[in-house]
């Protein structure tokens, strides 16, 4: 496709603007999202004690206990199988007032606090909402749309030189060229990954709002009603009004496994279930699970009383709606495949964070006044915002991980304490960048982040006794990986801090990143 020079300029301008509007939020989303890939290991790591995986019998006892104690759970109840969300089974249901209640095999009485360590949930919240309540998710949906526009416009700008420059990385006098090459190479080489996130991110954040807008326009107002049926596995059956006992969990699981096997899916492993109208003759249970060599094995709906199959949406035979959902979720969350897939997602996520960081650097660089030390106001503001938000969120997440180990020892409320640690440290970093020159703030905050991140495995060792070598020797690869990952990231932050300091001393003087730059 050949673009006219004026059109090309418009795309360049559009790319800068959407980058400006969405770049910082995208950095947070990608950095926190890369860490969220390891949500399960992180939950283990942040829990004060190591629990072995529970059994199906424990899960059955939890189910019986919850149903006996909580009439509201009969209407609708969800459960995770042992080893999916955490080592033991969990149950959750809305009480009479609509408040979610949670129970685990260790704490079978319902309470409104989510089970498990809150650290991974907080990082996840940063990922999908920047930690902002309610509006944050919609904001991130709009950010996803802007991200899509940035991808298309960026690709179009770069298209004429795409093939020639793909593997070009030109270090040397022209620093802007070097950053531009790095930005382009990462953008193009990880384009499929980014396309997936722009599409699924927008879907996850905005689907309800968009369906409400599209329904009356193109679907005669029937869209929302149809979407429920498109997502559920079995049609909702009304209560029969006749009492009937539930079949045991083991019967449901056996039925799910044998049905999956008949459809060519071996080793179906249940992950979570949804049970409605428990105790009624028309009780229905939906079991979702995974299996090796599938993107997401799928869901089966069973008659919870007799254990017979009502309907299934398994890979290979499921309809277009369920296939779309399964693929979109699997591709976004990266929970198919083995650890290699997760590490790939982690690295591509960090690469994405670099893409947005380097985009901001390029924006500043292209506005640099080369012949005078005092830089423009917009460059200084942008440099400060980039340092404060991007390096600040790295420092904040590491601080939160530190708090996750320290707070339980002090007997404080871990959930509230972690929130304070996260947002207060982030705010302090932002404040610090307002007080210092961008070059100094970047160097200092990078050293700070390196130090805090290096303390994370230390705090874990002191607080729980699970030092890296002990975790590794005992075969707890998850724990050792989190600690080693923190050390590796601390080393990266230290290298970045040294590079920033070198740039300030030896790089071109007239820049926001130079030592003498006036504030």
């Amino acid at each position: 496709m050949k673009l006219k020079p004026t059109t090309l300029r418009a795309f360049t301008s559009l790319h800068s603007w959407v980058g400006l509007l969405a770049g910082l939020a995208l950095f947070v989303a990608f950095y926190a999202g890369a860490i969220t890939v390891f949500q399960q290991p992180l939950r283990q790591w942040a829990s004060p004690h190591l629990a072995a995986n529970g059994s199906l019998d424990d899960m059955q006892r939890l189910l019986d206990h919850v149903l006996a104690r909580h009439p509201a759970a009969h209407q609708s109840l969800g459960m995770t199988f042992p080893g999916y969300f955490q080592p033991s089974a969990t149950a959750y249901w809305p009480d009479r007032h609509g408040t979610w209640q949670f129970a685990t095999t260790e704490a079978p009485e319902g309470r409104p606090a989510r089970p498990g360590a809150p650290l991974p949930d907080l990082v996840d919240e940063l990922h999908y909402s920047l930690g902002l309540p309610v509006a944050g998710t919609y904001l991130m949906g709009v950010v996803s749309l802007l991200y899509g526009i940035a991808l298309v416009s960026g690709l179009l700008i770069h298209l004429p030189r795409l093939a020639k420059d793909l593997f070009a990385l030109r270090p040397g006098r022209n620093l802007k060229r070097f950053w531009q090459d790095a930005h382009n190479a990462i953008g193009v080489l990880s384009l499929p990954f980014h396309a997936v996130f722009a599409v699924t991110g927008a879907m996850l954040c905005l689907s309800v709002v968009l369906m409400m807008a599209i329904g009356p326009l193109a679907y005669r107002g029937e869209l929302l009603a149809a979407s429920g049926a498109a997502m559920n596995t079995a049609p909702v059956r009304p209560e029969a009004g006749v009492d009937a006992p539930l079949a045991p969990l083991s019967t449901w699981v056996a039925q799910a496994r044998s049905t999956a096997r008949r459809q060519g899916i071996d080793d179906f492993a249940p992950q979570y279930l949804k049970l409605v109208h428990a105790g009624d003759r028309h009780a229905t249970v939906e079991i979702t699970g995974t299996a090796p060599h599938t993107m997401a094995a799928g869901t089966l709906a069973l008659d919870a009383h007799s254990g017979t199959l009502i309907a299934d949406q398994l890979q290979g035979t499921r309809d277009a709606n369920h296939a779309t959902l399964a693929w979109a979720y699997a591709l976004h969350f990266g929970d198919y495949g083995n650890a290699a897939v997760r590490w790939l997602y982690f690295l591509l996520g960090l690469g994405g964070a670099f893409l947005f960081y380097s985009g901001n650097l390029l924006w500043i660089e292209s506005r640099r006044r080369r012949r005078q030390p005092v830089q423009g106001r917009s460059s200084r503001v942008m440099a400060r915002a980039t340092v404060g938000v991007c390096i600040g969120v790295c420092a904040a997440i590491s601080t939160t991980a530190l708090a996750a180990q320290v707070l339980p020892r002090l007997g404080w409320n871990v959930d509230t304490g972690e929130r304070w640690a996260c947002f207060a440290s982030w705010a302090l970093c932002l404040l610090w960048t307002c007080l210092r020159t961008p070059a100094r703030a970047a160097r200092e905050l990078l050293w700070l982040t390196a130090a805090v991140t290096a303390l994370v495995p230390l705090a874990h060792g002191i607080a729980t006794g699970w030092w890296i070598w002990r975790s590794a020797a005992a075969g707890h690869a998850d724990l050792a990986a989190v600690d080693l990952g923190a050390l590796a990231m601390a080393a990266c932050f230290a290298m970045l801090a040294r590079a920033t300091a070198r740039r300030a001393r030896q790089g071109e003087p007239n820049s926001v990143w130079a030592e003498e730059s006036a504030a």
């Binding site: 418009a10 795309f11 298309v152 722009a198 599209i214 193109a218 679907y219 149809a226 498109a230 779309t324």
Partner: protein
């Protein structure tokens, strides 16, 4: 640039709705069968329309053409639905 981008965002939104609606209702089988793939395709399509709107010579033309296309598209969809020619 902003005049063209806003044309892509506002009338472009309605044009994208019309296109997704037409695709979903014209595909073989009831529209419910392809609902979620079409919903998933909506955002990339809208983003594509916003970017393509920069190909117009100026904002006025972009607004006119995209609005006209959206009205025709939605009108056609409504007519097909009312006549029960699609399902």
């Amino acid at each position: 640039m902003w005049a063209r981008v806003s044309a892509g965002a506002i009338p472009g939104f309605f044009l994208s709705v019309a296109a997704i609606g037409l695709i979903d209702w014209l595909l073989p089988g009831p529209w419910q069968a392809a609902l979620l793939p079409c919903m998933l395709a909506f955002c990339p399509l809208w983003v594509g329309v916003i970017c393509a709107s920069l190909k117009f010579a100026d904002g006025k033309r972009a607004w006119l053409w995209l609005s006209a296309a959206a009205i025709v598209g939605l009108g056609l969809l409504r007519a097909l639905q009312a006549l029960h020619w699609v399902r």
